[in-house]
């Protein structure tokens, strides 16, 4: 990867993929590729990890990223032992936290909470998921993984498979591709779980896309699979009808191009069978591993600048 123009990151927040230009995205990916563990880089810095709802991968990878750069982590997971349980407002909580920490990483069940916090405090804020809205660092690690294997983010055929209606990762990823050229998106889902019109509206005229319920993956460079959740179907029979249609098995993978990569935001349940894990196209565990360098790069950029 080549470094682009130097961008000023200090004091910026990472709240939504909508806030990031192509240059910003490429700068993060460049630094994520270059960064190495360094116990002195963020020595003396404190990251507040505020997880109002549980998370395995995101919380641990942010903590790992901070510690590999020599910083410290304070915070909580769940609100039982905090003043929030006593009724404290989110704004009062983060006004207190900013007195103790240099940066806030927050996951919260309500949409818009991350932007509110960023508007409230003067230290940088990274959104680690605000309800069903945004999870921008997931998108950055998805893009990092795609770039790592294809060495480009332009001129790609990408299939998004499964629940495209409620899955925030696929919304963010689709929006991120509006920053790149010659992208063809194939939106593969049951009819009741199609990409929302509000997202399609933002793609229109920028990204070429098609919608289908057929699992045709043969010409794709990237296949991004998400879980179809039973609770999204009002009628269980409808769920039973479609659930098997979007399961990635070794047989389905026979149709993939040898250079295609198979991604999944995880946790996976049964939408990719375990036998697929050893196939050369299966890259979802490398994808999750890429969360650490991407988050290390973001912490460095926001705390120290480029």
């Amino acid at each position: 990867m080549v470094q682009g123009p130097k961008l000023d990151w200090r004091g910026k927040d990472i709240i939504s993929i909508r806030d990031l230009s192509r240059e910003h995205i490429e700068d993060v990916l460049y630094h994520a590729q270059q960064i190495r563990p360094d116990p002195n880089l963020l020595q003396g810095r404190v990251m507040a990890s505020l997880f109002f709802e549980p998370s395995t991968r995101t919380q641990l990878s942010f903590a790992t990223a901070m510690q590999r750069l020599g910083g410290r982590v304070i915070g909580f997971s769940g609100t039982e032992s905090t003043s929030i349980a006593k009724g404290e407002s989110l704004q009062d909580t983060v006004r207190t936290v900013e007195k103790y920490a240099d940066i806030i990483v927050m996951r919260h069940p309500l949409e818009g909470s991350a932007r509110l916090v960023a508007d409230t405090v003067s230290i940088p804020v990274i959104n680690a998921g605000d309800g069903a809205n945004q999870h921008p660092t997931q998108t950055l690690m998805d893009l990092f993984t795609i770039k790592k294997f294809h060495n480009r983010l332009d001129d790609l055929k990408i299939g998004l498979v499964g629940d495209l209606k409620y899955g925030r990762t696929v919304h963010s990823l689709a929006l991120a591709f509006t920053r790149f050229r010659k992208i063809q998106l194939r939106l593969i889902s049951p009819p009741n779980l199609r990409m929302p019109p509000s997202v399609l509206q933002e793609l229109t005229g920028i990204v070429s896309y098609s919608e289908t319920d057929q699992l045709d993956l043969s010409d794709l460079d990237v296949v991004y699979v998400t879980r179809i959740q039973k609770e999204r179907f009002p009628d269980i029979e409808e769920y039973e009808k479609v659930k098997g249609a979007y399961v990635i098995t070794p047989k389905v993978c026979e149709t993939l191009k040898p250079t295609a990569i198979l991604l999944h935001p995880l946790p996976r349940v049964d939408e990719i069978t375990p036998e697929v894990d050893t196939l050369p196209q299966a890259k979802y565990f490398e994808q999750v591993q890429n969360g650490v360098p991407v988050r290390m790069a973001l912490l460095k950029l926001l705390l120290l600048g480029a």
């Binding site: 939504s16 909508r18 989110l90 069940p109 309500l110 949409e111 818009g112 932007r115 509110l116 509000s198």
Partner: protein, 154 residues
Amino acid sequence: MSDGELKVSKIKNGTVIDHITAGMAPAVLKILGIEQGCHDTVIVAMNVRSQRLGLKDMVKVENRVLEAETVKKIAIVAPHATVNIIKDFAVVQKIPVELPQELIGIVRCSNRNCITNIERVTSYVVVESREPLRLRCHYCETLIEGPYASVLLL
């Protein structure tokens, strides 16, 4: 009255809101807070022929001068409206009805899971497009489209 043959009484003092999108007069009355107990004269005309709009509505309210926030709300339901302040039967001021780029404390977010609908936070909506009307919540990024915005007015 330049548009068509409409004849309605003039008001001595108050406000005339003209060129309201046809059918939106009730929404304007709601914004003005005109309901039972209002004793001032209110004249409502609906589906009047208009050269500019085809059909339009019109509202005249006696003894009422609109605040800037009220005009912003009217812009959401009737973007082509004109507001004229009347004194002694004459127009003394024309207030342009223009939707600002940002609406703060004017429109509630339509997303029930938005932080602004749960905590004590003033709503903050950005105008992405005036025609067709498209608003986006600054906080949760929910898109609020078209006439739906009128039912979300605070």
